[in-house]
Every structure is written in C-alpha cells, then in structure tokens.
C-alpha cells in the first residue's frame, strides 16, 4: 500500500545524520581492547532511535576484539558526558544536545561525535529496558498519547487493526515510508477534524522540564493559530511577539528537524507535516547567538 504523496513528510522521513561512534577509552581497556579502536560511522535517519542501531554498533566493536557478552540493553550512549535518552528520536537528540543553530555562520558539528558505552549503565539517569521491544512500547505509547491529545480518547489508535498497529512500527524500523505513512496518515489527518489539542513538546536549554501544555490549534473565535502564536502563548518571555524578531540571530528560535520553521505557519499544518513518526511536534528552542 502506498501513502499519499507529501513532499514534506517524505523529505523529513529521508533526513539523515552522519554519526561517529567512539568507544569510551577507559572502558575499551577494561574490555580487553589492546589497541586504539577506530570509530564506527553510520548515517542514521533523524526519525530513527539509537536502540535500532545498537546490534550493528555492537557487532562492529566486538569484531574489533572488544570482549563483551552482555545484553544489548546494557549498551548506552553519551555526548560530552550527558547520557542520551534512547527513547527520543535521534534527530531530536542532535538538535537538543548540539544546540546548533541552523542560521549560524559556523558549520554544523558533523559527523556528530557520540560515545558508546558497554559498561556502567546509568540507571539513575536512563530508563533501563530491553532494547528494541522497549523502544517499540515507548513509540506506541507516544502515538497513543498524541491521539488522546487530538481527540480526548485513544480510540483511533486502539481501534487500528493489529496489523495496522504493527505496520507503524515495522515501517519505521525497516525505513519503509509507504508502510508507515499509509497508516500514520489516517492518524495525523484525524479524519479531517480539527484536533482538540496539538501533540507537541517544547525543549528548553539547561535541563528545564519538557514543556507539554495542552495547545488548542484555534483561538476563541475559531481562527487558526500559527507556530508563532503558540510559542508566544507558552513562552512569552522568550517570544515576546508571535512574529519574527527584527534582530533574528540574537533572538530565540524554534528548531524542528534541524531547520528553523517560519513562525507564520499554522500550528495544525506544522503538526500534520512536521511531526516525528511518534506523532509529536518536538520543538527545540535555542537561545540567541
């Protein structure tokens, strides 16, 4: 089954990030690596998740004589000492942890350097779970939550056939756009009905809690709100106006999929076209340069 043609969702689906995985050097010695182990490079879809790459990364390092017989769930990743939440999409983690502003003059920090760990899982900071199955559960519970936000119930997702539910995850896992979007399209378009709330999360710097307020896509008169309206409503101090600031580079910007979207786009349109496969619009707010 093919999905309806949409060049935007297609471009987002095809978006990738080159990542450089290096071994933690003290761990490498403890795990019997005798020489310096060369890093491993992959080009991962922004919409993918780290646990889907773990077995491939593990195989590379074990083939390089790393002595590791533990479970895949023991393997974790960090950037500059901060453990990466494996249940966030890879593109979101990159935007969040590099803090790279696409409008800056410096080149992006690519390939993205990520450290792989085979020991000392930080259970106080990261959810410990059986790698791929747990990722699927997280993914499906996000889709369910998005449905609840849109409709006040999870009926649309729960009423999907078992086959369609499986197809969402399988499509993502196997990087099959048509498989995923032919089902996801029905959820995101919401049978043409205006959603009650837009499934979205806003990420701020400095370990602030993730902001997830109920966001109505229309004002009290039924007019559609723009992305700028919503940011102004939720974060009035960072976005004192719903319109772009004149001094753009000194002002905070929203980043989605590594780009700065126009503030004038309707929030419903943003939700339907720019959401991650988990149905959420994940917006990273970066402060002025």
């Amino acid at each position: 089954m093919t999905a309806p043609q949409n060049p935007i969702t297609r471009a987002i689906w095809d978006g990738t990030l080159p990542i450089k995985f290096s071994l933690d050097s003290t761990e490498a010695a403890a795990l019997g690596a005798k020489a310096i182990v060369e890093p491993y490079f992959i080009e991962a879809p922004r919409c993918s998740y780290f646990p889907l790459w773990t077995s491939q990364i593990r195989k590379y390092f074990v083939d390089m004589a790393l002595n590791f017989i533990g479970d895949d769930a023991e393997i974790w990743y960090d950037v500059d000492g901060t453990p990466l939440k494996w249940h966030y999409p890879i593109g979101l983690l990159y935007d969040l942890h590099t803090g790279y502003r696409p409008d800056s003059n410096s080149p992006p920090p690519l390939p993205w350097p990520v450290t792989v760990h085979f020991k000392n899982f930080p259970a106080d900071k990261l959810i410990k779970a059986q790698a791929i199955d747990a990722t699927q559960d997280f993914f499906m519970s996000m889709i369910k939550e998005a449905d609840f936000l849109r409709n006040g119930s999870t009926k649309k997702v729960m009423n999907l056939s078992k086959n369609d539910q499986t197809q969402l995850w399988d499509g993502l896992w196997s990087k099959n756009y048509d498989r995923f979007w032919s089902v996801n399209y029905r959820l995101v378009i919401n049978d043409g009905q205006m959603p009650k709330n837009v499934p979205m999360r806003i990420y701020l710097p400095d370990n602030c809690p993730v902001i997830q307020e109920p966001i109505s896509p229309v004002d009290e008169n039924g007019n559609q709100l723009t992305l700028g309206d919503v940011l102004h409503q939720v974060l009035p101090e960072l976005f004192p106006s719903p319109l772009p600031s004149e001094n753009a580079s000194a002002s905070p910007v929203p980043v989605i999929h590594g780009i700065i979207p126009q503030l004038e786009i309707p929030i419903v349109w943003a939700s339907q076209n720019l959401c991650y496969p988990d149905n959420f619009l994940h917006i990273v707010v970066l402060l002025g340069i």
């Binding site: 939440k85 249940h87 259970a123 106080d124 900071k125 990261l126 959810i127 410990k128 779970a129 199955d133 559960d137 499906m140 519970s141 369910k144 939550e145 609840f148 936000l149 999870t154 400095d206 370990n207 602030c208 809690p209 993730v210 997830q212 307020e213 109920p214």
Partner: protein, 189 residues
C-alpha cells in the same frame, strides 16, 4: 457536592488545589508520613506531591502470610509498618524504600502515580521485584496485559527528567468516575 467542571478531567490548577487539600488530610492521619508538595527548583508550574514509605520485602517465607492478608485488606495493597515497631533483623535486608509521587498529566488531564523503589544500597528494584512486592497477586495478570505493554512501566519523571515507574494514565479518568459514583451511591443510601 462540588466537582470540577470537566471531572474526571482536571486542569493543573484544580490538581494543585486538590493535591494541597489531600496533603492536609494526610497530616491528620497519624500513623503514616504525610504527603508533601514539591516544586521544580527553577521553573513554576511543575509541582507535585510525594511521600516516602518503608515497605517490608516479600520473601518466600512471608509471602504466604501476606497473600492471605491481601484477601482481607480491600483497598490497601500492602501493609506499611510503623517505624518504631521494626523487628530486630537488620532493616537493610528486610525493608526497601518506595518514593511515591503524584503528578499532573497535561496530556491525560488526570493525576498519575509515579514511583521508584530502592534497596538500602540505593539500587532500584527490578520490574519483577516491583510486581512481587507492590502489586496484589490477583492483579498481576490484569496489570501486565493492560494497554500495549502492561500498565506499569518506566518513564521520565516530568519534573525531574529521571526514570521513574508509573501507572499508565489512560484509564485513570474511568477509575475516577467510578470512585465518584461510589461516593454518590453511599451518600444516597
């Protein structure tokens, strides 16, 4: 009886008011630690209530006794013991600490129970240990088969951003409606 406009769904403000009233109530019950209100250190609007409990570990020896107790106690899943009446065996082996947090879900618009259970050395209890120690044996099957992957799983704590176990909130509204119906019925008779 006054109810919030959209009960069983609550606004964050209604949750805050109810939670603070609940804290006052918990202070009046003498035998347990009262609940307390906690705010995020920097950002407003992420408050929640919490309470620590010391819970006796269920071992194969005392399991049978506890299982019998379960059938007699309707709404308490396990007994929390008075700290002063601890037995002479070392606390570290017999008891573990449970950190209960009740947090408002902005998506589901209901209170959500988050919890973590720690051994005396600070390590977390495993998923299996949580089921055997904190969940009524007769409910294991219902809870493990609810939703996509059981009703109890790990999630980031919305305020602290660290892993916590939580009871999935998608059926909480239904539960809250049934509690209110029970209260109404009792008032009626």
């Amino acid at each position: 009886m006054a109810l919030p406009d959209h009960y069983p769904f609550l606004t964050r403000n209604e949750f805050d008011i109810a939670a603070k009233l609940f804290i006052e109530q918990s202070k009046r019950s003498s035998d347990e630690e009262p609940w307390t209100w906690v705010e995020h250190e920097k950002v407003k609007g992420f408050g929640y209530i919490c309470r620590k409990s010391l819970v006796k570990r269920i071992t194969p020896v005392n399991f049978v006794i506890l299982e019998n107790d379960f059938t007699q106690i309707d709404d308490e899943i396990f007994e929390e013991e008075d700290l002063n009446s601890l037995p002479t065996v070392p606390v570290s082996d017999e008891y573990f600490t449970v950190d209960y947090h009740i947090i408002y879900s902005t998506s589901y618009k209901v209170p959500v129970l988050y919890f973590n259970a720690y051994n005396s050395d600070g390590t977390l209890l495993t998923n299996d240990e949580i089921y055997s120690n904190l969940v009524h044996p007769l409910k294991h099957n219902d809870i493990k088969t609810a939703g996509f992957n059981g009703a109890i799983s790990q999630q980031d704590h919305p305020t602290l951003l660290i892993p916590f176990y939580y009871l999935h909130p998608c059926e909480t509204a239904t539960l809250m409606t049934s509690i209110f119906m029970a209260v109404l019925l009792r008032a009626y008779h």
